[in-house]
Symmetry: C2
Subunit: 294 residues, 2 copies
Amino acid sequence: MQTSLSPLGFIGTGVMGNSMAGHLLKAGYPLRVYTRTRAKAEPLLRQGAVWTENPAEAARHSEIVLTMVGHPSDVRSVYLEADGILAGMKPGGMVIDMTTSSPSLAREIFGKAAEKEISALDAPVSGGDIGAREARLSIMVGGDRGAFDRAKPILEKLGKNIVHQGPAGLGQHCKLVNQIAIAGVMIGMVEALVYARKSGLDPQTVLSTISQGAAGSWSLSNLAPRILRKDLNPGFMIEHFVKDMGLALEECRRMGIQLRGLDLAHQLYESLLKKGHGRKGTQALILALEDMPL
Amino acid sequence: MQTSLSPLGFIGTGVMGNSMAGHLLKAGYPLRVYTRTRAKAEPLLRQGAVWTENPAEAARHSEIVLTMVGHPSDVRSVYLEADGILAGMKPGGMVIDMTTSSPSLAREIFGKAAEKEISALDAPVSGGDIGAREARLSIMVGGDRGAFDRAKPILEKLGKNIVHQGPAGLGQHCKLVNQIAIAGVMIGMVEALVYARKSGLDPQTVLSTISQGAAGSWSLSNLAPRILRKDLNPGFMIEHFVKDMGLALEECRRMGIQLRGLDLAHQLYESLLKKGHGRKGTQALILALEDMPL
């Protein structure tokens, strides 16, 4: 059976990519990998992945290439540079970018891939490193329906909630919608905690009172308790959230809309980034409102 | 058994008060009622409540008086005016204000009640008209622990999640914390929907994708779908939410803190109030960002 599985390429084997590529290997897919720092691919190479010298080479030997890199500029270079994926990929192949990246860039890659008869999906995820490790990511997919159907058995090795959102770019847009909703929740959550402490309430008692009702949210249940025990370690890092909100704001400007809550969240988080808190978790937003976390 | 239950007074029999007082009647408490517009008390009078001409008279015949009125100014007048509750109440009695009102006023009433050897609790609720009807309110209580213990059997006829938050005023503070958290969630929710629609996503598909994950909230699950079906009817009315946010902002000024998300939400909702949307549900915030609800 396993010999019939399509050869895959995986570009970008950081924390997320390592888990994801690992699931594909375990499922029996022949896998070629490339990442900027070869040492980060070692765990996968030990599991049977084959190292390649650049994205083009990975693409040359693969039917489908998945990418999970850092920023839109990284996406641009792994896809479009001289030794990039589109330079190596054969017609009939497919590329799937799982980085949270620019919707406009996703459409650009879709167009350039189409010129070479290559299918392209933008398929960013939510669920973080734990979701990646447990193969429980939510995957928001933009691109042609046919390509989505073809990719689905592979994506099902990585996530649980895999939804086609529409044409190219809409996977990215959907992920940004997710981040916009979170931005508001985070502001409300930390402001509520600041007020609670300042007014003399016991924040723990308050949380258990309000988190079951109309004020309830994933963040209030999962991140507020971390703030109370002074745990600012990342589930999701501030530097990544700032990147995502920046992408959303860029699209807002392009679409001619102003989202003042998103603006505010971006401002507050950027102030934390500048103070060196970029690698703390998003719950560290409390530091932008209070000098001390407790 | 029923003859041993304390005679109660209930002031303010609007939508919430009617349901709440009804539960007390059903539980067998002798009940005197007063409300500004007598017609609004008729359903309770038919169930056996006794009409009184003013709050003082209701208090004169009651061991415990509960109040559920509109604004802090109403609370002030039903408690502190010449024919108000404290003028009629005997020493040893207890008052429980369930209005969402000013924490400072709650402390003032607590002090004036104490001078007359009357116990006072501030006990605002969340859960809305449905919570009141189903006796499933969350009740956030400030005041002495002993008074809380004495009130609890009565409050248990009205709600499920009844928590002593600390001294006088902290019930009100806790409710305001709840509203502050909601304010942020609401901004994030409507901004996410505005972005989703503008970017060409199908909002229904997006909602079902993101509401189970880290962006999830009570509002995203319960209010966003109403926006999509253009239902702006109140679960919770904008005019009440603006009142509550105003109270919170007043306390913020007093405590010397600035909550910019709360400021923004208050501004946006106040603009809707000025346009005549005060009796729509809080999900009508979408109207402050989009000209048309779909």
